[in-house]
Subunit: 388 residues, 4 copies
């Protein structure tokens, strides 16, 4: 099952790490640490093999992929020996990276983007192509009447105004090209009634939002711990310090607000109440691709005794995100093959702000993911049996 | 369903907090924060009400219960107003506290202890009596041929030697008196073939070991998080600083070793391998009843990128343990009423070193606990229906 | 040497703790922990004894002092037994607390405030009276031509406009009443050319700004450590979480900005360059009078090796500030007695943003303070000798 | 002033980093970050230039220096480009590394070691040669009558027994060869009456003990902070986790005890009392050349309010130690040139356990160091003046 992975933001840190890692896995030069789909509970015949993944993508910048990979190696995000060992493979991906489409209207740009997708799929004779958005976080979208349904959307896109935020325009192009769409960022993506309707029309699944890579991952196991022990969380405050591209982008207050809101949701939904405290994100260029988050949690227990917990998370977002991008591409491709349509709520495990998924508990999300993946494998085995 | 709670170590911090809290709950002076059995998922008709709990116990020391309670109030473990509001209730419990039994042989002492239990049960016309060990941690037990079966044990106890560690002697006395036994400490308790056989003979359940109140509680959600994300934990080191009675006792290297071993087990069994690093326990008198634990976890992810996490837990062990003691007494009483016999492996949620329970993941333990409690409630409802 | 201590913001947490503590020291009910002037290096005959301190003050709120003290005792800031033991002494101070003066112009209000000061000094036959501002932090002051010199100031105050921020109006009233003035807050206070000129005219000393009680105290020893070791601080980021009155007040962005700027100054001036990173202050009501600050410092050393340090400070600002308020009152009174005039730059040890003091290194500030105090003692001894 | 630096333990991490760094400084390939002697307060004509330093040394292992340097580069301790840029320079040092001397008696081995020193000094026409011990930490030395004076020592060394620990045998050889000796480790080194007398006889200075590179550095500024603020430190507990060669060596309980004792001394001597708590050192191989230390400090202030501070230090010991080794070699050479004899107590700034130095406050040590260095420069300038 030859599967394309089309990365929006293909020259960014997450995309570059995903590509280098995916090529290294294909070449047997690296192990699948961090790839959830390689755990015994999830492995199976429905998922495309790493060897069957083909990479392409869009980006607004033009830095050569190898340069970006070398910079990440220098920063300790990935091993330089892998970049050195994969020159031809990286050059092949470079050939499949396209600039962001241009044009007078969003309709024109969407057609150009879809053409890029279709051309890639045809050229590589792919069974299917999954589009994954890993570009910079956008500010929250402005409402527009065109967001209501596909017809209104098409009409609006043909006009001179910016109807859709970029993430949604790519989602639209993907769906129009017959490709499932995954949003790894907190941006709007496919989360508009018009795009949902379009996905259903075309029989396509989509997934998101906002990859759960660091502090929120920890929150999604600690908050249920307090809940299960009937301990009252009185305050939960956090500071995220990050350099790198994402950090610089989050200096923009709108993008920061989108990210922070996504981060706090897990608490209210897991605990059933919102404790005091806020999560802040600050840009510290010097930290590079590593992120340090500190959280203080105060809580009370039996007879109102006051206690506290602190944690510091020092992680590399790109290294944490990249294997999940590969996981999501594999799972979404398998879901598409199995005929799944609309939001893949079973993939909540991967996201800070999961589509239509009521639980933020990592373990509950895990159980749902395992069951979903098993059903995909069972369907595949049954199909293989019939075929055989 | 009048239920007795007999505390071995009844004048210690955990027992005193359990008693004051239990009385305060009975009097409506405090809420059930920290009591897991009061969560919506666990509440139900099979559990004895707080109002139906009656407290008694053994202790080697003779400090008046009210003095201990006042000292805990001064240390911030419980509110002084509760101690002041419950003078008669505390005096009533004081009347039911007994010195540790004396006698020339362990057999004689066991008979005396059982007599104390039976007298208490009769005097208060209790439907049943649960014995909970919350006394100081013992060093690991020495093997003895008498541990093999009840007959050998009875013969050995009649002799002049110390055959059983104290925790096991109390477990023996409890079983002989027809009482279920819970071990909240890492001591041996009922974990001997002879005592298991005796429990089965008498149709009694037992539970343990080592209440999961602090650092290990956090480990039991963080270790599964790393496992579910396919991240390799390279080292996990910890330092526990604690004052109070338990801290002083742990200065004894044997007791310390027992505690530390119990603490590290969760890692090996959850991760499937044992990372580098050790957990240490140090006594710092000045910290009083509060405990500070610091853990450093180093881990690697995709393409071997190195990352790290630290946490500090600043908790009050007595305040964390006491509601669990009440939970365990209620659940064990309900299990006894339902005819459960032998190790209550479904109560692994409460313990660092759960009896016969393969999983150390807090959420898996939670799911098991919820299912078990629901079946108890269903049984009770069905019994009530038949009765009605 | 009977010395008055007049607190602006006399019913606030810092003032209340200073008053209860001062009375407890006078009554021999508490030791001088936290009082720098009781260290062997600073003790001596020039300083008024604790027994000679008399308290009064202004406040806009009217909560009884005893109520405030009881609330602080309940919050763990001071021992309840002290409040209970000093009812008459607290009542006597209560009699000397005045509402904030009212009047149509700032000139009228200043006269009223000065009258309060003079009345207090006369009534208690004080040798001198030191005014200490411990009221809530103000936003930075707006420039005004009246700030230039005393004549311009007097003319402006008689008009209908708000010429001076409140802290400066109290400083003006203090100087007009012949009282030295200390600003323990980051507010403007005496830091205006007109007020400086007035202090010189009247032969009065003044001191400030912004008591160094927590995170900045730590910064003032850690930053010199990095400098002395020739280690390059690359980033220094901090988050201060605080409840209590000061926290609520700092939700006001202006006041917050004033505080944050004062906090970062120590770094630039100690290191000779400003590292990346910011200090943030967030209000978390639940933390009450305790404050938790977390700082992350990244630095590089020999051959550019990257390293890092984190610290968490969990302190009670009122308990840290109150003894320094007593210290400053004693030292400023002694300086006044010795004829010191203008800014007391030798008291930089106590402040985040010290007047005219180039060094932010705590130890350099300490050496200056010790030398200054010794000279005060020597002057006093010589005066005593001549008198004898 | 051509100055030799002879490293005992010359192939260890600290020595290798010192050598690579010294060569890089000489070649202008690196800046002097971390070198205290390059701060404006200490720079001056009495110190030999980096260009005048020549390296040699002893070691019991034979791993080629370049291999060790490459391993350190791979571990992130030093930049690989420096190792690649200095092949001839490293080869020249390699030629001057000698195996540990062998022989039937310690006297024979001492003569051989001294011969190595003298040969090196002659071969390179050095003005002087400083011997610096950076080998693995020894257990505390056993007392021996030969330690009393030079004559007794010489007699004892000629016998068949181990009279001196290795560090002291090298100190003896150094002094016999006319070389000043610096001990950067907690080992015994020159700290024996016989060796002191010998140094005085030969007119040689010596310095030590135990380079202050991490947690203790922080202690030496934080402990004075608490003292200067009259805050009572109630407990100070620490855990040091380290991999690398030093960590493995400290698994030996004797060496660990020596190191821990050296670490706690600073507290008792700075505070005037010993707070509760202990410092522990654990070996965690995975941490490599980086060390993570966590400290918890509990303290009380005014009216006995309880507060706490934590810090985590994540440093690279070799990178922190190496520039200090160069500093000590330069300063000791200058002291030798200036005719200083016996223990260089003015170098306490560099050590956890400074020779004859009463103060552990970093700033007091700094002031002493600055004054001492200025006097060396002044002497040199005066000598230059006379010469000119």
């Amino acid at each position: 099952m030859r599967t394309g992975v089309w990365l929006v933001g293909a020259r960014g840190s997450v995309a570059t790490t995903s590509i280098v890692g995916g090529l290294a896995l294909r070449a047997g030069l690296a192990g699948p640490a961090g790839c959830v789909t390689e755990l015994p509970e999830l492995r199976g015949p429905a998922l495309p093999a790493f060897a069957d993944l083909v990479f392409g993508g869009h980006d607004v910048v033009t830095t050569p992929l190898t340069k970006r990979a070398e910079a990440l190696a220098a920063a300790g995000v990935l091993p330089g020996r892998l970049v050195a060992a994969l020159p031809d493979e990286l050059a092949a991906v470079e050939d499949e990276l396209r600039p962001a489409p241009t044009g007078a209207t969003q309709a024109v740009r969407a057609v150009a983007a879809a053409r890029d997708l279709i051309g890639f799929r045809d050229r590589h004779e792919l069974d299917r192509l999954v589009v994954v958005n890993v570009s910079a976080t956008e500010p929250p979208a402005h409402p527009h009447p065109g967001h209501a349904d596909p017809a209104a959307l098409r009409a609006a896109l043909a006009g001179p105004h910016e109807v859709l935020p970029t993430s949604s325009l790519y989602a639209y192009a993907a769906l129009e090209a017959g490709c499932p769409y995954v949003d790894f960022t907190p941006s709007t993506g496919a989360r508009l009634p018009a795009l949902h309707a379009l996905a259903v029309e075309r029989g396509l699944p989509y997934a998101g939002h906002d990859g759960k890579t660091g502090e929120t991952l920890v929150k999604s196991v600690l908050a249920p711990m307090f809940a299960m022990r009937h301990l009252r969380v009185r305050s939960w405050s956090g500071l995220n310090l990050l350099g790198g591209g994402d950090g610089a982008n989050l200096v923009d207050p709108g993008a920061n607000a989108a990210k922070v809101e996504s981060k706090q949701r897990v608490l209210g939904e897991t605990l059933g109440y919102v404790p005091q405290g806020e999560t802040r994100i600050d840009f510290v260029e010097e930290l590079g691709d590593f992120k340090t988050a500190w959280d203080l949690i105060t809580f009370s227990g039996f007879l109102d005794t006051r206690m506290r917990m602190e944690f510091t998370w020092h992680g590399c977002d790109s290294a944490l995100a990249a294997p999940l991008v590969l996981d999501l591409a594999r799972l979404t491709a398998a879901a598409h093959a199995a005929g799944e349509v609309g939001p893949l709520t079973e993939l909540g495990f991967f996201f800070k702000d999961p589509l239509g998924s009521p639980s933020h508990s990592l373990t509950e999300q895990w159980v749902r993911l395992v069951n979903f993946t098993r059903s995909l494998h069972a369907g595949q085995e049954s199909a293989d049996g019939h075929a055989g």
